[in-house]
Each structure stands twice: as structure tokens, then as C-alpha cells.
Amino acid sequence: MTEEGSPPDHDPALRVLHERPEECAYRSLTRRQQVVLAGLAIILITALVWRPISALVVLNAILIVFYLVHSTYKFYLVWLSLDQPLIVEASPEEVAALRDEDLPSYTILVPLYREARVLPALVEGLARLDYPADRMQVILLLEEDDAETRQACEQTDLPANFRSLVVPHSQPKTKPKACNYGLEASDSDLIVIYDAEDRPEPDQLKKAVVTFAKASPQTACVQAKLNYYNQRQNLLTRWFTAEYSVWFDLFLPGLTASGAPIPLGGTSNHFRTPVLKELGGWDPFNVTEDCDLGVRLHKHGFRTIMTDSTTWEEANGRLFSWLRQRSRWVKGYLQTYLVHMRHPGKLLRQLGLAGFFSFQMTIGGSVLCFVINPIYWLLTALWIATQAQIISALFPPVIYALGALCLVAGNFVFVYLAVAGCMTRRYYDLVKYAVFSPIYWLLMSLGAYRGIAQLLLQPHYWEKTDHGFALPEVEP
């Protein structure tokens, strides 16, 4: 799990690096980006030294305007989802009408690393999927250095259409690299990834088939919704569930409807295999390869839509483990942002103005929000406590009015989005916890700062999320 050493030259899992180096996160920053960022830093420092208050006022104004735009955009997307169902419905009748012999072949990739504990439940869950066994193969992706899981796999009586594939020990040691090995080994029509702890709804594969059939030819990916089965385990899982409910039930459908690039969820994304192979698979150096792939699909003219099926996952209910997971996500989002912003003009042409704007708000903007939130809360608290002139000086009248709007309306919008997520999912008992989600935001900000630090120090380090800690009594 370290990043020493160079990647091998002809590893099939590293196709993105070799075939599309401009889209690979092997290097977080290109030389040109380093120069631009250094230039901006010099300008900022010079301005801070020369005219500190004016410089801070300008910076403050930019951040506040960004925050307002970001809040409005998110609310707009959620409102779109609330206004009309934006997910492609696959009705039970349509699913029942599918004939086995007409179904496309499917490959399920399950990357496993130190997951011996959840293996039996995983096999049981996947075996429950309603899809003909002769058209579905499950590839368990095992790591060469994970003897425990390999041993557990050998001792488990796997169904006939299950097979394991050992991924050789090499750098980078990430989930996307393992998935790329699985992709190479697959020749099916469709391919999907599930995590070890996932429990997809049994008809999900068939729903994905129906959704693909209804979709335009440009649709290369169908994303299922993700949610948690241990939502009521503790306060953290309740907040986490509220967040996921907003993201997958409201925000992503809104993005889909607006034709923007979709940051895919980590699992349950169903691809047309040839398209995925054409794009070189996942970027093994990006720690949120899902988000990156969603953007790459869009850049190359493909589309992602959502289907009305849920995969139930295990919410991370342990604070430190949750922080590690969050910091990886933030680091990955930043990697994705930096990779695709290597050529902003080209990205603008590829995504279009609306898509480019959405990319800025969704990928870069989300991280920026996590970063600036605690700063503004701290400023507000300091001002209330001390009425310090220096803080007042940062807020000339118009900026003060906009800042007040951000504080009063912006924060509320985000709290209410969490409530909306719970209400949409009919998690009525979680609504009261969603009201207190600003505490959760603090944790998210903490994770963001940790992620940024890691991007600088260990850009490709994959922080493993441990599973199997959900309380049995809260499982569905």
C-alpha cells in the first residue's frame, strides 16, 4: 500500500497511464499546473503583503459568490429531482417480460482485500441475484498478498459461475487496478462492480438491462442507487445515510437530467463492456476512480443514467475509519479535478458550458465547500465573541449582505437537503438527526483537510475501508 517504485511498462491494468497519460492521475500536477499554481500563490502572497485587507476582501468576495452559486446550483438540482422522477423506471412488468435467452452476458467484478469476514454473506447475496447463471459470471478479485481472503475463498463452496482471479502484487495497489484485471478477463456484454459488503436488490441486473434498452445509444453506464442497511447503528451512520440519500436519490438524478457529467458511485455502476475497454478501464492511480470514470465517459461523448434499484451497503459507523474513507474521497475528487483541469479550454469544449460549470461545482466545488465552511464558521464565532474590527473590515456592505445570505440561507439549504433525502427515502425517524447535520459537516471538513494533506504527501495511497462491523440486529 505504498507508492514507491515505478509502474511496470506493459501492465494491462495500467492502460489509462500508457494510452491516455493526459487523463491519468499518475502525476497529480503537470508542470504547467505547477507553474500556474505557483504564479497564483505568488500573486496572492504579494497582494497580502502589499494590501492585506484589500486582498482579503477580494478573496472573501470570490469565496462568498462561489458559495452562493454552489448552494443555489445544488438546490436547483435537488428541486429538479423533487419536481419529477428523473430516474429511468424499470417496472416489474418490464423485468418479468425479459426472456432469459435474450439477456446479455454479464460480468460482476468484486474486488476483495482483507474481506474474509464478509465473504460468505457476499457469496450468498450475489447468488440471490435474479439472472440466469449461464449468462452471468462473478469474478472475485483477490490480492496476491492477501492470504487470509484467498484462503477463505478456497474454503468457500463457490457456485459454478463464480471464479477468483489473483491480482499480482505491484504498485499502485488500488481497487481500480484490480478491477482492470477483471475487465481484461471479461468478454461479456455488460459489466458491473460490487463491493464486498454490497447487497444489490435481486432484480438489479435485469433492471439495468431494461434501462439500457430504453436509453440512448450514447448511454454507456447505468448507475444504481446506493444506500445503507445499517443506517440506525449510531449517529454517524444516520448522518451518513442522510447524505447518501440526498446524493443518490436527489442530487445525481438532478445531474443526470441536466446532462452534466456524473461522478459515479463506487459500486453498482453497470457498463457496456466494450465502451469501458475502449476508454482503457479505470485509472489505477486515482483513489476515486469511479468519479473520474464518470467524467471521462462524459468527455468522450458517452452518458450515464440512473436506474430505480438500490444496492445496500454497510455504512462506516466508526469515526476514525469514516474519516479515513472521507479523506480518500476528498483526495480522489481533487485528483480528478486536477487531472481534468490540465487543459481547461479542451475540457470546456468537451463538456460544453453547462457541463463544465457542473464539473466545477460538483467536483472542485464540493471540496472547496468542505474547506471554507469551518473558516467562515470560525470567523462568525469570532465576530460574535469579539466584534473585532479586522473581521468587519473584510465584509464591506455588499459582501456583508451576500455573506449574511450565505450564512443564513446557504447553510439552511444544505441542512434541508439532508432532511429532503430522508423524506424521499421515507426515513422519517432520521429527519430529526438530519437537522443536526452541521456537526457532520465539521467531520467532513476534517476529512477534507486530511485528504488534502494526503494528496500532497501520499497521492496514490488507498486507505482501505474495513467492513463487517454492522450490528446484526439492524440489518434488513
Binding site: 455588499v398 434541508y416 423524506m423 421515507r426 432520521l430 429527519v431
Partner: protein, 526 residues
């Protein structure tokens, strides 16, 4: 193959064009009435003008926008909306016309909303009829042409009532959120809407509990109340930060009102029924019809409960209303607005239901009988003098209701303009001094104090300053021999006030040294 989309797009284009035409026509009508009210009858709605005056303070008086300038006595939303639109004011011919322009815009939006609601209910082009009913209602037109905050209230309650009816039918979260946002806005337009909010909260809890149990009720009520409570809390917080008193708005609104025991419940119930019959005569038959049909009941229950909540407020606050200044129409503005807005939604709902022939013959006959009875009762109330303050023809000619004669303030402003031309920076004390300042079009050079004595004493007056005070002198007041104004005693011994001009209610003074000569008093306008 291409005919269908073309026909659809043409229909859509025609519908949009018709909407734009309605919008423009309503604005023109309202502006015409408002213009006539100001220029022919000197009629001004003080609440509407106050919102504009606060907006002018924000926009033109201070170098930086300051929320305190919105005024903390009246609910803030009309002031905020006026702030967004008052920028047009300088281009308009008369400042008193600005409220009419704002009211016209809101009424035009209301007409479009009614048309859209009717369309969604299946009324087709008949929805236009209901839009016309709304616009030509003399009560609504008076509110709009005077720029009264009530027209904003009606618009918000219209949205709230319709969204609640949709939520009652489908229980979709989006509709619940819409109700919540509309009512939060309405609460910030008129505080008494809290009773409507309470009624709707109880209704959502009941409906949700029936379908989703206690947890469903809990989550739904929190989701519904959260925006409203947050907005109210933010307003309290703003009062606290800026005025140093979280309950400043409450004290200033109700400080003079004694809360006593409930003494007049029967009178209050009678008053509520009278208002319902006047403001929305077809509501009662429509409610009867809606409550008989289970499908329609689910939709109509919410809007009807909004009216009940507002009616309950009148009954509960009977002593409060009785002791508030103004007539019953001023005191019962919330009930009037709720019955017009929610009543229109229920009537349209019943009309759509009847038009689609979903009711039995007997049911329709009963509705017709009830409607005739309600219209006769309405006619009787109007003829007996219990009805609308002004008849529709008078309102259309510009003699709008719920407005006061502002000719005295306009005259005072003309006098004050001469002082301003001479370089004075006057202080006006007394209500509605903001109107005098606004009419001079030089608000940035005038200080307006809402109350007279306490703050005037605090001011550092110097010789040469102009002070305008509200003081009923009557015709020729200052010229009467032996007239002595009462402010000298409150000034430093070295200063005294010399009257310079007077109107019916306003006197312009100059601050002079103790031995100053008496200034010439300008003649009042004939």
C-alpha cells in the same frame, strides 16, 4: 408525423403568448387604478408606502446597505421585495406610485398563478375566468393598486393553498416543501399567519400519522416546520443583533395591545362568517361539495383548514383585534387574504370537479342552491353596509379601499422642498413622516424619526435646523392668536422652535436662538 409536434408547439406558444398578454394587461390595469388613486384622490396605502420608504433608505440614504433600515416594526418581506424593486422608483413619476407598481407586478403574478392552477386542475381556458375574478375583486385590486402587503400575502397563500391541496392528494415531499416555503414567506409578511401554520402542521401530522405511523408524523412535521421556524428564528436573530432585543418586532407590533380574557367569541365567529361571505361567497358551497367526495376531500381539506386556522386566530385573539387601531378590514387582513386565496383554490377545485361531471345530479343541485343562497347573503351584506368598503366601479376609477388621504403629506413635502433647496437637512418626527420625506424625493438629506418626543430630545439640534413635527393644528392653526407649541420646553434653554409653515397636520419649524425673530408662516394651500 410532424403535425403533432408542430401543433403542440404552436399551442404552447399561444399559451405563453396569452400568459404574457394577461401579465401585461393586469399590470396596466393596476397601474392605471394606482395612478388615479394617487393623482386624483391622493390615496396612499401607508403599509405599502412604508415598505417603499424603508427600501429607499436602504438604496439611497446610506452608503452601505443595512438591514436595520428595512424597519423592524412591520414584517420584513414586503420591505425586502420593495428593496429589490424600488430601484425603479426614481424613474417613476411619483414616489407614491411605486407601491402601485409593486402591487401590479404581484397581482399579475397572482393572475398567472391562478391560470396555471386552473390548468393543472383541468379547468382549461375556464381558468382565465378565475384569474379575472381575482384581478377584478375590488378588495384585491385595492390592495394591489395601493401596494398593500396584503397582495403579497394573497399571492403566497395562493401558492401555499394549492401546494397543500396537492400534498393532500399525493403526499409528495416537494409539495410539502413548497407549502412550507410559501407559508414562511407569508409569516414574514403578516405574523398572524402563525395560526395558519399551526393548522397546517396539525393537518400534516394527522395525515402522515394515518399513513406512516407516529414516526411518519414526526418526520413530516419537522420537514414542514423547519423552514418556517428557521426563517422566524433568523428574523428574531436579526432583531437581536441589530436592535439588541430579540423580541423587538413583537413588542413594537403589539406593545400597546392589552391581552385579556376571551370576551367576544360569538362576535368573533359572526365576524369570521361575515368576512367569508363577503370575500369568498362561493367558498361555503364549494367546501360542502368538496367534503362530500372522498377524493376531493383529500385535496380540499388542507386549504379549508388554512381558513379555519385563520378564523381561529380571530376568535382566539378577539380582544386583541378589538383593541387594535383601524377598522375590521385592517384588523382581519389575514383572514381576508386567506379566505380569498385558499377560497379561490377550493372553489376552482369544486368547479373542475363539477365540470368533469363527477358529481351526482342531486349533489350538483344542492351546490347550486347553496351557491345562490351564499350570493344572496353576500348581496344583502353589501346592501346593508356590512360589505366591501368600496364598490367595484369606484375602485376601478381609482377610489381604492384600505388607503388614506395623503394630500396633507404631499403638501408638507412641497413646503419642505423649499427648505431643502435652501440647503437645510431637516428632521421629521411623527408617523407617517416617511411619506413626507419620500414625497420630497430627497430621502438622503432627511432624517425621519418614527416617534416624536423621546428621540427628538436626544438630537443635537442647532440653530438653523429644520424640524417637521406632526401636530394637529386645524385650518389656519398656527395663525391663531395665542397658539403655543409644546416642544420649546423640551429643548435647551438657549433654543426654541419657530414655525415656518404648516399644513393640516404637519408643522415645519426652524430651530432658532432664544432671542430669534418669529419666522414668516407660509399660507396653506387652499
Amino acid at each position: 408525423m410532424t403535425d403533432a409536434p408542430t401543433a403542440t408547439s404552436r399551442r404552447r406558444w399561444l399559451r405563453s403568448a396569452a400568459g404574457a398578454l394577461i401579465f401585461v394587461l393586469v399590470i396596466l390595469l393596476c397601474l392605471r387604478v394606482g395612478w388615479a388613486a394617487v393623482t386624483r384622490y391622493y390615496l396612499v396605502n401607508w403599509d405599502g408606502l412604508a415598505a417603499v420608504a424603508h427600501a429607499y433608505d436602504v438604496l439611497y440614504k446610506e452608503s452601505g446597505a443595512h438591514l436595520a433600515l428595512l424597519g423592524f416594526v412591520e414584517p420584513p418581506l414586503p420591505g425586502l421585495i420593495a428593496t429589490m424593486l424600488a430601484g425603479l422608483g426614481r424613474a417613476l413619476l411619483h414616489p407614491a406610485f411605486v407601491p402601485a407598481a409593486i402591487g401590479a407586478l404581484l397581482l399579475a403574478l397572482g393572475a398567472l398563478a391562478v391560470r396555471r392552477i386552473g390548468g393543472e386542475m383541468g379547468l382549461g381556458e375556464w381558468s382565465l375566468l378565475f384569474a379575472v375574478v381575482l384581478v377584478l375583486d375590488p378588495i384585491v385590486l385595492s390592495y394591489a393598486a395601493g401596494g398593500a402587503p396584503a397582495v403579497l400575502l394573497i399571492l403566497l397563500l395562493l401558492g401555499g393553498a394549492y401546494s397543500l391541496s396537492r400534498w393532500g392528494e399525493h403526499q409528495r415531499f416537494r409539495d410539502l416543501l413548497a407549502v412550507s416555503l410559501y407559508l414562511a414567506g407569508a409569516l414574514m409578511t403578516r405574523y398572524e399567519v402563525m395560526f395558519v401554520v399551526a393548522a397546517v402542521a396539525a393537518y400534516t401530522a394527522y395525515r402522515s400519522a394515518r399513513e406512516n405511523g407516529a414516526q411518519g408524523a414526526e418526520g413530516t412535521v419537522i420537514a414542514f416546520l423547519l423552514p418556517i421556524v428557521y426563517v422566524a428564528a433568523a428574523w428574531i436573530g436579526v432583531c437581536w443583533v441589530i436592535e439588541g432585543d430579540p423580541w423587538f418586532f413583537w413588542r413594537n407590533t403589539f406593545s400597546e395591545v392589552p391581552f385579556g380574557p376571551l370576551r367576544y367569541p360569538l362576535t368573533a365567529i359572526g365576524e369570521v362568517l361575515r368576512m367569508l361571505l363577503i370575500c369568498s361567497p362561493l367558498l361555503l358551497p364549494a367546501a360542502y361539495h368538496a367534503l362530500r367526495d372522498p377524493g376531493l376531500r383529500a385535496r380540499a381539506a388542507g386549504p379549508l383548514l388554512m381558513i379555519c386556522g385563520s378564523g381561529a386566530a380571530v376568535i382566539i385573539l378577539g380582544p386583541l383585534h378589538a383593541s387594535l387601531p383601524g377598522d375590521a378590514w385592517t384588523q382581519l387582513t389575514t383572514l381576508v387574504a386567506v379566505s380569498i386565496a385558499a377560497g379561490l383554490v377550493v372553489v376552482m377545485m369544486a368547479a373542475a370537479h363539477l365540470a368533469q361531471r363527477r358529481a351526482t345530479h342531486r349533489q350538483r343541485a344542492v351546490v347550486v342552491v347553496l351557491a345562490v343562497a351564499a350570493l344572496l347573503a353576500n348581496l344583502w351584506l353589501v346592501r346593508a353596509g356590512y360589505g366591501r368598503p368600496d364598490d367595484p366601479a369606484a375602485v376601478l376609477s381609482g377610489k381604492i379601499s384600505f388607503a388614506d388621504d395623503a394630500s396633507d403629506e404631499m403638501l408638507a413635502a412641497r413646503y419642505l422642498c423649499a427648505d431643502l433647496d435652501a440647503g437645510a437637512e431637516p428632521v421629521i418626527a411623527g408617523w407617517p413622516g416617511f411619506a413626507v420625506a419620500l414625497f420630497t424625493r430627497q430621502v438622503d438629506r432627511i432624517t425621519v424619526l418614527p416617534t416624536v418626543l423621546s428621540r427628538l430630545e436626544d438630537r443635537q439640534l442647532r440653530p438653523g435646523d429644520i424640524v417637521v413635527l406632526k401636530e394637529r393644528t386645524g385650518p389656519g392653526g398656527l395663525a391663531r392668536p395665542g397658539y403655543k407649541h409644546k416642544w420649546d420646553d423640551r429643548l435647551p434653554p438657549s433654543l426654541r422652535l419657530e414655525p415656518r409653515w404648516c399644513t393640516q397636520q404637519w408643522i415645519g419649524y426652524e430651530v432658532v436662538e432664544g432671542d430669534g425673530q418669529r419666522a414668516r408662516i407660509r399660507p396653506r394651500r387652499p
